[in-house]
């Protein structure tokens, strides 16, 4: 084991502290240490976006952030996007519009879409497509993902 660092991170509203190897990636700390397995790993090169979480309110790919870099920050994962027992409008819209099949890219896709809607509450189709370019899905052909994001944004009729 290499050098370690002590970190304190507010994850889904709860303060979590631990001693991590300095090289530990945020995604593995979330998955292996905290058991938040909704955040997935799909590639080695920051292309697929399955690991997308919010760091201080903005989406990041947690496979390209060291856990140590999150020290003192607030992290939101898919498990914390909505209050326990409830659904975020995007989660509901992905369900309604069949925006997922195998479900593996889904948490990252929803977290990326949530950030997109924060920055642009009523995006056009084209803005959604380009806004989600960093998240790969092999199942859906993206069609229903776009429909879901539009529905969550409340502008299903816009072109």
């Amino acid at each position: 084991m290499g050098a370690t660092v002590r970190i304190g991170v507010t994850v889904n509203g709860e303060r979590r502290e631990s001693e991590v190897e300095a090289r530990t990636l945020l995604v593995y700390w979330l998955r292996d240490e905290l058991g938040l397995t909704g955040t997935h790993v799909g590639c080695d090169t920051t292309n697929c976006g399955a690991c997308t979480v919010h760091l201080n309110g903005e989406s990041v790919k947690s496979c390209t952030v060291l856990a140590a870099q999150a020290d003192g920050a607030e992290v939101t994962t898919i498990e914390g996007l909505a209050p326990e027992g409830g659904l975020h409008p995007l989660q509901n819209a992905f369900w309604e519009k069949h925006g997922l099949q195998c479900g593996f890219c889904t948490p990252g896709m929803i977290m990326a879409a949530a950030d997109l809607l924060q920055r642009n509450p009523h995006p056009s189709d084209d803005e959604i497509r380009h806004g989600l370019e960093g998240n790969l899905c092999r199942c859906t052909g993206y069609h229903n993902i776009i429909e879901a994001v539009k529905a969550a944004a409340g502008n299903e009729v816009s072109a």
Partner: protein
């Protein structure tokens, strides 16, 4: 109201949208160790020595084993299961860890087991392997030439086998042909690339082994792995938890699955191995990789009289589960949806120093549909005939079904005119052609491609493809068990093993309607060999037409018993009980009725009124082996724009009309079609597995191997017709691979249509910007009209201009 036919929201989704899905990588077991594999960096080499001493010294390392160390752990190697009668297929030994020689980049030579993922990866880098490099061969046609380096010297040739099938008299058709067209096509190598990498976790308790794995085939895996490990099946449980997409890449029994089982047994602790994306690109099997030589013969009036295909299939270095079979899998539809009286097919398999190929979405049928449809287009140009008119002249007519092809295959049902007519209702060809002409004046090169497709799926009648048929050493029936609980909900177990298709929902709809239970109260279980009967898993678009039918049959047996119980308690005849709106009632007396909860309560706690000849309990099973395949079909149109300055292709419109019989859940059908088309768009425009001349993999990450993103695909316009299959009682056909099969030619044909005014008549896929740009330049050199601008520069062959790889226009600074 029945739920079949309704777009019921998926029962799978609540856990997946909240991050509570349960994938193999999520599994953590007490004392679990992590494995990392040491892989060959050489395409072909002898292993001179392996030094594991330094790796063993590292912190956290529990064990390091080479192929020699583990030779005694395996009773058998990784098997290949096709034994076609009368044909010998050269099949080398294939052990999970290699001894003596490596045959492709990524071949596993040693394994490190450590207390953490990072420690295992660190130590794997400290294993020192000396290789004596040998000449490699990567081009399948070069591999067949005299003097080629041999992948396997002991065979004296790189040719693995030849397999042929023919019907009708093609030689006569060729001799008498008024028109003959010939073409060569390359169906290049691709990756399945599910977003979930492969992962396997093995556990050994007492004398029982359990494997959790990202697999499409837990039942087959148990059968195969039991043999490899010398373990009887009752001592081996295989579980497929939530699986994050398969696309054929997980229709395999992999070395790493056998390895973690052997390691767990050796070490007495659970062992997990998770694939990196680079490992996926290197050592999860690839797909396609065929060269096709096609001849179509016809009369001047457009009647096609013969079809000949000569297929050279690059199988890579080993035979995996179905490697040599996949190129031939599409043979039943290698005549398309056309009544062609003579068909002559010949396949040659070839070893190269590459990862083996095997099934990837469509598996043999996208390749075939690509060459059938593009050659029909070519014939239409030769005849100066509208390509859709040529298709109509050759369609198998509705009144000809069931239709026996020249190869003796019986197409179950079809309405090819119907889907094409419906497509043209959505897509006005005349309006498109005038728009195309006016855009061209503005320098916009727009093209349309059509595909009228048929495929063969619903694997399969065991008699046709089993040992005494085509020769797969397996059967392909499916099983189902339906159990009604004492309070009237249902738990069903199916032998299929879905991984994204939504079958928890569609199967609940089928069973719920038959049982008279709300689908929300029907729990569908699968993918656990200790839970249900033997099954044959999910691939070949078989889940619904084989597994769904097995489920319907088991559910009907339960319904029949429920009616007998109901009849006894209501003092009526069983044949007078009918199921209406979830109630079992006496015909003509709807006030005399029972719910399933009441009936099942009586089945489990029998009242004295129940006759003794009715057994307690309410549970039935069924095993169903289909009489025939099913043959879904449809008509697709794709519109693309080609930027002639950069060669970049943009899909601007896609219209699909498909027919997979009556819809169980139309929302799920649309989803499968969207994803299938996108898979083909990837293959035709972006994706390609590339090895250099030395056999080094050039496309080892998602940076180099470009999957389509949301920005590269259009909205999809979908519609359906519903022509029931007579093969099963539900009338259903498969739809999981249809989009990929249909769209491969449609997208490619659209690019060619756009390029034709520039003098480009043919162009191998993938239609990457550099290929398209160079084709335009080459055609100009041949005297064709120049494009409107001569700008543009040589782009790198891979990466640039593809999805996720940055700017592609010279004026954006992406290439210089």
């Amino acid at each position: 109201m029945t739920s079949v036919g309704q777009a019921l929201k998926r029962k799978e989704d609540p856990r997946m949208i909240t991050g509570r899905g349960y994938y193999t990588e999520d599994i953590q077991l007490p004392g679990m160790l992590h494995a990392a594999i040491v892989r060959s960096p050489e395409a072909h080499a002898a292993i001179a020595s392996i030094d594991t001493s330094e790796a063993k010294e590292r912190d956290g390392v529990v064990a390091v084993y080479t192929g020699e160390d583990m030779a005694g752990d395996f009773a058998g190697g990784i098997p290949m299961v096709w034994a076609p009668p009368g044909v010998e297929i050269k099949t080398p030994e294939h052990w999970p860890l290699k001894r003596g020689q490596v045959k492709h980049v990524g071949d596993p030579v040693a394994v490190v087991v450590a207390t953490s993922r990072a420690a295992a990866i660190d130590a794997a880098e400290d294993v020192i392997v000396d290789y004596d490099a040998k000449p490699a061969v990567v081009d399948p046609e070069a591999a067949l030439a005299d003097g080629s380096p041999l992948v396997w010297e002991e065979f004296g040739t790189n040719k693995t086998h030849e397999w042929a099938v023919a019907g009708g008299d093609f030689d006569a058709a060729l001799a008498e042909a008024e028109v003959t067209v010939e073409a060569r096509y390359v169906n290049h190598r691709t990756s399945g690339a599910p977003i979930e990498p492969r992962c396997s976790v093995a556990e050994y308790r007492g004398d029982k082994l359990t494997l959790y794995s990202t697999t499409q085939i837990p039942h087959i895996a148990r059968f195969v792995l039991g043999g490899m490990l010398g373990v009887s099946e009752d001592k081996l449980r295989v579980v497929a938890p939530d699986v994050g997409g398969g696309f054929g890449a997980k229709l395999q029994v992999y070395a790493e699955e056998a390895l973690v089982l052997a390691l767990a047994k050796r070490l007495g602790r659970p062992v997990k191995w998770t694939e990196t994306r680079s490992e996926h690109m290197t050592t999860s099997h690839h797909g396609r990789d065929q060269i096709n030589y096609i001849t179509l013969t016809a009369k001047r009036d457009g009647t096609v009289t013969g079809c000949r295909a000569r297929v050279v299939a690059d199988l890579g270095a080993y035979q995996q589960l179905l490697t040599p079979f996949i190129p031939t899998l599409g043979f039943p539809v290698m005549g398309g949806c056309y009544a062609i009286p003579s068909i002559d097919l010949h396949f040659t398999g070839v070893f190269t120093n590459k990862m083996p190929t095997d099934a990837i979405r469509g598996a043999g049928r996208p390749e075939a549909t690509y060459w059938i449809e593009l050659t029909m287009d070519k014939l239409a140009r030769e005849l100066d005939m509208d390509p859709l008119e040529l298709r109509r002249r050759n369609f198998i007519r509705n009144d000809q079904f069931p239709f026996e092809t020249a190869l003796g295959i019986v197409y179950d049902s079809g309405d090819y005119e119907g889907t094409l007519d419906k497509l043209l209702g959505h897509f006005d060809v005349d309006a498109f052609r005038s728009e195309q002409a006016s855009l061209r004046e503005q320098g916009v090169y727009r093209g349309v491609g059509f595909s009228t497709w048929v495929e063969v799926c619903g694997l399969a009648p065991s008699r046709a493809v089993g040992p005494q048929g085509v020769g797969l050493q397996a059967a392909f029936y499916e099983s189902a068990n339906v159990r009604v609980t004492p309070t009237g909900s249902a738990i069903v177990y199916s032998g299929i093993s879905p991984h994204g298709q939504g079958l928890d929902t569609s199967f609940a709809q089928i069973a719920g309607d038959i049982l008279g239970i709300d689908p929300q109260n029907v729990e569908v279980l699968h993918g656990d060999t200790d839970q249900g009967a033997w099954g044959w898993d999910t691939y070949g678009s078989r889940s619904l037409s084989v597994g769904g039918e097995a489920l319907a049959r088991a559910a009907r047996k339960v319904q029949e018993k429920a009616k007998r119980i109901c009849a006894a308690l209501l003092e009526a005849a069983p044949e007078d009980i009918e199921l209406e709106d979830g109630k079992y009632q006496v015909k003509g007396s709807p006030d005399k009725s029972m719910t399933m909860a009441e009936i099942s309560g009586a089945a489990h706690i029998p009242p004295n009124e129940l006759p003794a000849d009715i057994e307690p309990g309410l549970e039935e099973s069924s095993f169903y082996d289909p009489e025939n395949f099913v043959f879904p079909f449809g008509a697709h149109a794709c519109v693309v724009d080609v930027d002639v300055e950069t060669g970049k292709v943009t899909v601007v419109r896609y219209v699909a009309v498909d027919d997979c019989g009556p819809a169980i859940n139309p929302m799920l059908i649309d989803g499968q079609v969207h994803g299938g088309i996108t898979h083909a768009i990837g293959q035709v425009l972006y994706e390609q597995i590339v090895y250099d001349e030395e056999g080094q993999l050039v496309t080892g990450t998602f940076v180099d191997y470009a999957l389509p993103t949301a920005a590269e695909v259009p909205r999809f316009e979908t519609d359906r017709t519903e022509t029931p299959s007579p093969t099963n009682s539900l009338g259903v056909k498969g739809i999981g691979e249809a989009g990929t099969i249909a769209a491969t030619p449609a997208v490619a044909a659209a690019v060619l249509d756009a390029l034709r005014p520039l003098g480009v008549e043919s162009l191998d896929i993938p239609h990457t910007p550099v290929r398209v740009y160079e084709a335009i330049q080459a055609a100009h050199g041949n005297g064709a009209d120049p494009p409107s601008s001569q700008q543009g520069v040589r782009l790198d062959e891979h990466g640039k201009g593809s999805a996720g790889s940055g700017p592609t226009r010279p004026d954006e600074g992406g290439a210089s």
